[in-house]
Amino acid sequence: MNKYLFYPGCSMDTSARAYNESLMAILDVLEINLAEINDWNCCGATEYLGINLIPAYALIARNLALAAKQSNGVHTVVASCSACYLNLAKADHYMGEREALNIHVNDALAAGGLSYKPGSLEIRHLLDVIINDIGLDFVRSKVVKPLKGLRVAPYLGCMVPRPDYKKRWSDHEHPNELDRLLKALGAEVIDFPLKTHCCGGHMTQISPSTAFELIRRLLQSADQYHADVMVTVCPMCQMNLDAYQRETNQYFHTNYHIPILFFTQLMGVAFGKDPKELGFGRELVKANQAMNRIGVETPTEEPKAQPRRKKPTGLPMPAMPGEVGEEE
């Protein structure tokens, strides 16, 4: 059993719920134990960095400090969201590179009774852990329903392979990790030329025409290669390509219909999990036709609502199976 500290990030509980559901469903197969960092906060995405430097880094560093406190011999923090992964890695890297930043951030953390020593944690993306710790041979050995005949465009987006402070990826612009994983699942993987190009990020909210053009390029390329689905490793990429596909089509008078799934969803299908547990049906561009083509029935509507839990603090994060002793 591989143990990791886990930083889910805000999207996993909202826009990327399908990512979270499918990840939770495959953890036992992968023999991964994720201990969620207690009371983690938002990483600030790409917004806080552009407002105020020290508060932005202090916001990120609170998570690192909490993780280090909870470590219990586990020093690897796994993030599933690309922006969260980069922000955590960035804070750890720059606090190590620039002493003045380190001093100021720790000064701020001290106001909350916390501290963080750069370099004491290893920040990694979920895909990296699956490829390099679990290994493709192990993944292959767990496949019971190969995704034979499903043409997949592997899409990594920007912030996982770049800037890559610790040189973890095979290439900054054309890394092959996701391709190899999807091939191990039996899928037909296209050599997607735009696999690390930008989805537009927050431009959908700020300069829609800029974002729509970047989304269009990705959809057009995937369509040219006759991809049945595009697979992402990032909540923001999934959101932009899925939720804004309709508006992009309207803007350019195009008619693309490319379902955008998380890689964990396809892993779940290949591992023989029930698609209902894998967050299928939450995508706005429906994936059921593409999945039917390989004989997989997926729901088109979201699963029935869970009874609402009423708490003054709002809904709690879903509990991780086999959470390890992080209770204070």
């Binding site: 906060n41 620039r98 912030m159 909210q205 706005l284």
Partner: protein, 194 residues
Amino acid sequence: MTTLAHKFNDTDPNVRFLEEVSERTAGVSRLEMCIQCGTCGGSCPSAADMDHTPRMLFALIRAGMREEALSSNTPWICVSCYHCVVRCPQDVHIADVMYTLKSMAIQAKLYKDSTAPDFSQTFVDMVETYGRSYEFGLATRHYLKHFPLRMPSMAPMGLGMLTKKRMDITPKRIEGIEQLKAILARAKQLEVVS
């Protein structure tokens, strides 16, 4: 020694602009190392919408043209894709310099269009209040102010996100919000890295 004396006696803040930008950037910016090769602009997916390519912007900074540089839309159009960063032959931390320029433009109130700064500020307000991002609140506030006419075409998407439980109407608050507020309050007193 004349040049050195000139540097220290000059009260024109523009003289030290390059130094200031570099100093306020996380990590070691290496902005001084730029050789004006233009690889950044050539790699940029959103350069077409920018007032200046990154290379031109860096030339403005080196020339001490503070107002022009801080009122350029370039940092606001940067999508943080890091293509330029990995291709830069001089390893300039370009994306981080863009963040620095945004924060300096906000302080100097030199941005031309408030859409992007408002979005960032609203996002940050939500995070400072709850400790988590709050998309529903953010989207509502932002669209009402900046894109009211876009709302009808957005409606099916927003509704889809709500019915598919991909957006919560109520925000989530972390338990340690007071701790976080104390950390951020202290951080705000420590603005510039030196």
